[in-house]
Subunit: 356 residues, 3 copies
């Protein structure tokens, strides 16, 4: 497999994805066979914003493959992230490490970094944009607990408008056959238009539903996410609505025996603690699946890798991206890259649409 | 040995303790024999408050056994410690790690965490409550430098009221034969009543003494601790008293040739720097002994361990613990656990006594 | 090689330096031969001020030798650096680690620490004083890219007054035959008098030049450094001068084909981004050379090392050093050490000159 920089999971074809999941499965069965697979290799976890869970998952994955870890975890501690361009840091760390996991608060930062890394690089979250290893985790969890990634009725509950993990999971499941979606949220917090277009184009049916109680009986998978209080119109609306999207033992009584409950964690109160011991709750196991998925990914990316730079594209537009959270806003040396949509320019870093 | 969660050192019987010390002794003699003993194993050091010394000691112990390390060291850096319950963090990290060392500012947190860890867990300090590996360190230091844990006259100097390491050491030495204690402190800062009861019940003699100079000639071991200025009634009292409890070359002249001076470190000024080069000063060596003791403990706990949850107890009381520093104050999902003493309820997390 | 504590690179003779560079070269050719050379060994990186680049370089070096890492990276996170003397921390960490890399904001701290370390210790930067592994990095980069350390015309550009890496490089290159220097800076920011004396004594020719454009055609090596805005007399002067010392594609047209451009990094804007892809730019490669140089150094220092304290000198003066940034200002237990120069006392910690 030739992918050297993983920005978005859709870089992988379905057969490639299935191969990674198959490797994850084999590692999970016999992890001790793999405990020295990356002996002598070094991963840098460059976390420009703290995300201890994701960082620990990557670190554990690398360590359990016999590799080593360098990196930083907090911009405030790190002299690297101050007074040095992303380019320079990536150039330098490429010289130290065999593979980089990058977390950055700005959208498009993974794409930007990929231009300057001589070693494989994994996007471990670029702002609100993409987080492909979370989706890989979700896929592996589904694959292991449901036994298939096809013909599933998947309920997604909570804030479906702002949740990048939800969007990415839907996009990916649309690439498999026969999946249906039940979108459980308030009207204001349903998925964005472009996600509906993806489902329509893929021929995946979906229904919208304002009540978890109503929806829960029909679904094979329940993907829970947090609704942040500040997403509601006002405090009153929040109080009126919040209970509707909380999973508790009472609602769970209506669910199928074979339901699997996922959550990207951390949870706040959207799943009652009493649900934790129900065998249908797999959200804690999910973190372990995520470790195996990341191990498989690292192994795949390091296999046969050699130090090389990808060809760096030339600017293809003169208009800068207008997204204030785009990496191009702070890193002036980046080539300006956008492709033209029907109506808009689409930034190739952050995928923000703006006027042509 | 079956202990999977080490909250308090008294979980071990004396023969079990002696076995751990024996393993520590063997490791100390030939550390290279053990340098791959934990190959492929991962320890998580979860430090909810910074304690660099303790963390480095655990990390070095695991690394010198050939294991690997993940974790965090500061609540302010870590997204884990924000917005996630202790339970959830422990459940997740149990999936990554083979063993957890937990440091937490709240009393009873180790007991609480032990309910949700599927892997072995070591209490690396839960607030002012317990710190069993410090006591194990002290025992191994005594055992190595005095050659015995019996029939010792042990002087303890400084703040004996608030020092958890002092209480824990006395409790443990009372389980061995023939030890005597000399309590060297101001009257206000002597050991609490329950420690005196323990010594009485064990038949261990003790004397109280207001002067290090007077006491030092009679003792085999001097366990020094810090007296914090704010423990004194007022500044005047502090100035009058502080010199009395400082160990210097002058006072040391009266001591036995075979005296051993211990200190849990860090010291401030309670031991003069001139004492450092005296062969009776073993407080720096003590840190190395602590590393070997922790290596033996980790090895013992990982040996034959498998992922399992301990049976979780049901609430056995309706009255919440009243200790404001108890872990039950912040983690609402914990079962309420207390046993009845003669007069009080005793919280099973923090051992705080409160009205029945 | 007997050096157990590396404070300053001039502790090594030229043949010893050449041997370290030779080891670095061999490691660079076949790093996999060395990937277990330090198996079972532990390095402590004690960084009393954050310097993520230097710390990552040391860590990667040790990890790529098969060793392990403990340490801390920030005084604010670390309980070690609070309330404990440097001596005590070094004594304790010596018990955990096989080698220490120390970074400290105070001048002379490496010398001070070396008195109390029972294991090898490397100065990873002591305030504005010394940073020998940066110079070793520079030497190895020159050696690899120019093929020699002799008969080079070396341009040094930027703030030559305050740059310790510049001073250290000049001092070391003066020990090799036939090197010449071109000092490219404003008059105010040229090298200090004592550096000129060293060049004179070594018989190394040097010229001073106020323009990078004029100088660039004649030199074999260009060592760029940052000029901080606050070094200029005023804002007007800064605006007038800054362009003169910025390297860009235009100025580079005048340079020799075989020029090599070095920079200790991080750069701010003193090298235009357009220069990065020029084959003469070796400042990113330099970081990789630095890793190999540090690997060679660690290997050399650990080879045959055993735990020992160096003999500790007695105070040889009664007058304290007057440098406010000297380690003796905060660590009162240090012996007072100074040797007499022609006119001054020279502090043996920070090399500050003060009245006899």
């Amino acid at each position: 497999m030739a992918i050297n920089k993983l920005i978005d999971l859709d870089q992988y074809s379905i057969p490639e994805l299935m191969e990674i999941l198959q490797i994850a499965r084999i590692i999970k069965r016999k992890p001790e066979y793999y405990q020295d697979s990356c002996h002598g290799r070094v991963m840098a976890t460059l976390f420009y914003e703290p995300s201890t869970r994701t960082q620990m998952s990557f670190q554990t994955a690398m360590l359990r493959l016999g590799g080593k870890i360098i990196g930083f975890d907090n911009p405030n501690n790190s002299s690297v992230s101050k007074g040095e361009s992303l380019k320079d840091t990536i150039r330098v760390v490429s010289n130290y490490a065999d593979i980089i996991a990058l977390r950055h608060p700005l959208e498009g930062s993974a794409r930007a970094a990929s231009m300057f890394a001589s070693c494989p690089l994994i996007n471990a979250g670029d702002g609100g944009h993409l987080h492909p290893t979370q989706t890989l985790t979700d896929l592996f969890t589904l694959s292991e607990t449901k036994g298939t990634l096809e013909h599933l009725t998947v309920g997604l509950c909570g804030d479906l408008l702002n949740g990048r993990t939800v969007h990415s999971l839907i996009k990916t499941l649309c690439r498999f056959r026969g999946n249906r979606f039940v979108l459980i949220s308030t009207e204001e917090l349903t998925v964005p238009r472009y996600i509906k277009e993806i489902m329509d184009q893929a021929g995946c049916a979906y229904t919208q539903c304002g009540s978890l109680t109503e929806a829960i009986g029909d679904i094979d998978v329940l993907y829970m996410t947090r609704i942040q209080r500040e997403r509601f119109a006002n405090q009153e609306e929040y109080e009126r609505q919040k209970g509707v999207f909380i999973l508790d033992a009472e609602k769970l009584k209506r669910a199928k025996y074979g339901l699997k409950i996922l959550h990207p964690l951390p949870r706040v109160d959207e799943i009652a603690v009493e649900v934790d011991d129900d065998p249908r709750a797999v959200y804690f196991d999910q973190t372990e699946y995520g470790m195996y998925a990341r191990m498989a990914l690292i192994l795949t990316m390091l296999d046969g890798s050699e130090k090389r730079f990808d060809a760096r594209p030339e600017s293809n537009t003169t208009r800068p991206c207008t997204n204030p959270r785009c990496i191009t806003q702070t890193e002036a040396y980046l080539p300006r890259l956008a492709h033209k949509d029907r109506r808009y320019s689409v930034c190739e870093y952050c995928e923000h649409e703006y006027e042509k």
